[in-house]
Subunit: 337 residues, 4 copies
């Protein structure tokens, strides 16, 4: 059994990691830390875990966690995990960070978008970007994994397979719609139920932190216009990408590389993915349409932001790090309905 | 009092026209037709209308409606209203069609997108496109009004003010998210509650019927890539438009033309509209963001697809046709929450 | 025109009063007070009111409001309105309080359930309980109206017509399901969108403040077991009442008294009401079923908690107070869909 | 590995059985039957199962299924499974029916409530009622399991522990609120998204088929008034039970019997369960409140209707039938958010 530590227990990302690992046959959660709930039982704070997890929340202590754990998942807000991650690496334990602090390779870009100086820039080179289908080999031996953002996963899985080719000179338009769990558990008037139910909104246009992450992982071959939206659902991201092509492209051939991927499912041309087919699962479904009238290629992807977009992808990384079948603990199909 | 007839009573568009006109001080609904409910009381079919509308559904009869009504609203599925509209015009009564049959000026384009030959092409020239802020003068004397589609209203109100200028050589990307009422009341597995709740989907990419309507009303100056989506809410459209600019544009100056519009509300730069602020109302809220990094202008608009996108716009047309204050019957602000 | 003042502008109840009065032909909102937004424009705080209400929020000042207004609506949290109401009555202006402070006639009961001493117990006798179908005559001359709670309206309209008869010796079971707007706009983890969406919960069993209000208005003939629940919708209350009968009752005859009520719609036996038929309207729909197997009578009612349960009922009271047709400003049927 | 057959693949119950068994380490789905999809791949009909289940739908053939399977799950509409179940038993294979045909022991009651004569009344005696905490021993050797209805599970788990005592002479009031997946996948105007979203309704008052099932499993000690409702969510049942006590009862002591139950979680007095804590899991959470003012005991339970209310309970039965740890394949806690 892999001995697991969890930091940031009560946040939505860490909860989902714990939910998935509760059904993972090789994982044993042995220590959990939560700043706001030190000394409380996990199931007192998170009643869903009654009868499931018999642990108390601790204060974070890197050396104590390092002694008891093989690997520690960190799920804390942006700019909070870099210090935790550095301390844990110092103490010699493997780390999987589901937050953003180790994703951007360029500390200057981090400072610009996250408005904080990076406290452990030396680790940015060591961190492996946890996009399993593209960093599989590096993940096997990774000591520090930066699990990608949920939006970037939904954009990069379709785009990376295509953007190795020089397809466009125009910024790629990425319109994403997300469920509200992506905004986390912090109270916010915008996400008070009567305010968000039956509502739609765009936000952070031109300034969202996931834009530079996407461009980095496309090797800066194109600029992206990232337009995020929220809709009244809890889980799921649907991303629609419009590429103004300057040359023809064989999309099916480019996507053939995903033929053996356990969790990337490329649909036949013209069949479009839906969130319901991936909800609660680690799958990313991808569809596409060629519009000959406009000369545009449109890609659409669907993930569950908390599973395929966060905790499921993190678990797939864990499986790679420990030589397990990548599907371990992730065998459930989408929950439809 | 303006004597009103309604054809297609039980559809969502006609219901909403009736709902709004029930509170309109100058409108008197005197006759309603419904193919599927002939002989039944309106409130038997639509219980919301108990104590509100004391009428029975009739079979459609153009001359009978023309005798009793000053104006007839038609709300029936695509390709069904052109014959009704032609018969009513023949009988000499004014017509407001909330369906698509009289929107496209080019019968060939109609045939291509609606897969039916137009039965009254001669009326296409007579029909006034019911986008009130742009066809105000023509609407005052219109005999036949083609109320725009809900998506086109959400796209054209922001775009027309800008696209008089030669801003781009790249297809404009229009990503829209709609509530499910836009799909009408016909049962469809895709919109069965457990299938659509907590779901997101794109549909009709590259082939949606509203794309040519938008291009027509932009005078074919640009091509549009229209990407429609549905999200789990009943009412509302949020449209995000990305324009790759080839020159600078003074957006605030362009939008100044809407200064006196009763129902178009242009927000300050960087403030984005939300569906909740327009729900149940005739308003269209517009926001915008300039992304200097990508050279793109992003416009966002919000409407209630059934009010500002259909029945409210139709009522505004009615008010113009009868010399009333355009706000008559439409004074409610958005229903938030 | 009736000159209207509003206190507590930004709360959900006051917003809804303003939304309805914006379409009321005899009402003119002339002054609005909001503790949290003094000096701000209403439409800055509530963007839905752009182009609708051209006013700034003031600090509350009873004498100033009394000079400028014919009637003042108060919509502030429990225990906050009694002082406002007393000051306004002192200043000589009519008051319609949509909060709970003047509903209970017994100050001891108020103290017990609201955990505060009543500051104006002398006004409790003067206050008219604003259940329009039952207090119509008193409302015409009322100086202080206590609009009932939303749950009590949904329970009392069906029950009062029946409980004049001595039907049962067993506590009446009132199970209500409410939309989340009933919980108000204060942020609360329970009503954070991802926590409440796809959730159901009961709350305040045995201790809810609306139980004594219901018993008072049933003249303490029966005890009620009031079981409130919330479900993931914004607006609406569905109340199911189970009465263990000790004698036979002619339900249709008892409900005949509502024959001329403009907003109470009694359905035929066996036809059950739904929230969708009343949403956005002032109607209360009532259905019932007799279960001969158990000897129980089951009543079901549906209202929109913010309209028929609060602001619509308050507007009906206003209409009575000023000799207007009770339907004025309330002619819209339910918004379905 | 237990070789599993599934009949009625495309219905919501069978889908959920397949979803759970896809993650069950000892179950291997080897044959699936679907009347409507013979010859099609499962993942063509149910895209969520791409990369998960590599099978084609067959026509149902009892002897063929009996040869290849150790146990067959049946998930077809009421009155359709009794013939399938009989044929499978005849062919000698174990059967777990998630439908209602084998639940009622009295064929006359079945005929009355399901309006069909039972075709295999002899099997009603053999069928074990699959309420695992109460029929554990019988389930170990069961050849035919009738998995309880979702509403009965939510009512019986709290009630059985108490109703062994003679607590009341008044019918017990059971008010349940269900998500829409409980109504199945058949299209129905009532459950068209725009009709059900933001709606609440009661239905089948006094005639619901689950009432006699509940009374049977309470040994007809009391009558129950079963009031089912639906609310706009996909999954979940919240059941509130009001018992007018004629004597005092030690509730905590009565519930102590659930101390070792893996999936029944009794909360401390006054703590109420919520659907979100059980969603996607096999847990049933139970809370209670004593109202000394009315002399009533109020019990509240929460389950996921498709897991704890159907497929999870069926899997727990499977585990018992094959001597596995009851938690096998069911270790996930609730999915919150």
């Amino acid at each position: 059994m892999i001995r697991i530590g969890i930091v940031g227990t009560t946040g939505y990302s860490a909860r989902e990691v714990m939910r998935i690992l509760a059904g993972h046959p090789e994982a044993d959660i042995v220590a959990v830390a939560s700043e706001s709930s030190v000394g409380k039982r996990v199931d007192e704070v998170l009643p869903a875990f009654r009868n499931v997890l018999d642990l108390k929340c601790e204060a974070f202590d890197a050396s104590s966690f390092a002694k008891r754990c093989d690997v520690v998942f960190i799920g804390v807000p942006a700019t909070k995990s870099m210090a935790f991650g550095a301390a844990l690496r110092e103490a010699g334990v493997r780390v999987i960070d589901v937050g953003p602090d180790f994703r951007l390779k360029d500390p200057a870009l981090f400072a610009q978008y996250y408005r904080a100086a990076h406290v452990a820039p030396a680790l940015l080179g060591e961190a492996v970007y946890g996009l399993a289908p593209w960093y599989r080999e590096a993940l096997r031996t990774a000591q520090l994994v930066a699990v990608p953002g949920c939006y970037p996963i939904s954009a990069l899985l379709p785009l990376r397979a295509l953007m190795e080719q020089d397809l466009t000179d125009t910024p790629v338009v990425i319109d994403s719609i997300s469920g509200i769990s992506g905004a986390g558990r912090s109270l916010n008037e915008a996400y008070h139920f009567p305010e968000m139910n039956e509502n739609l909104r765009a936000y952070s246009l031109a300034v969202h932190r996931h834009a530079p992450e996407i461009e980095q992982e496309l090797s800066h071959r194109v600029k992206v216009q990232f337009n995020p939206h929220v809709a009244p659902l809890t889980r799921g991201i649907l991303t629609t990408i419009t590429i103004h092509l300057k040359r023809t492209v064989n999309v099916a051939a480019a996507f053939a590389r995903y033929g053996d991927e356990p969790f990337v499912r490329v649909l036949p041309e013209g069949t479009l993915p839906e969130v319901k087919h991936v909800r609660g699962s680690n799958f990313c479904d991808i569809g596409w349409v060629h519009d000959t009238r406009t000369g545009n290629l449109i890609l659409v992807s669907a993930i569950d932001n908390l599973v395929g977009g966060t905790a499921g992808m993190a678990t797939q990384c864990l499986n790679l790090m420990y030589g397990l079948d990548e599907r371990t603990g992730l065998r459930h199909p989408g929950m439809a309905p």
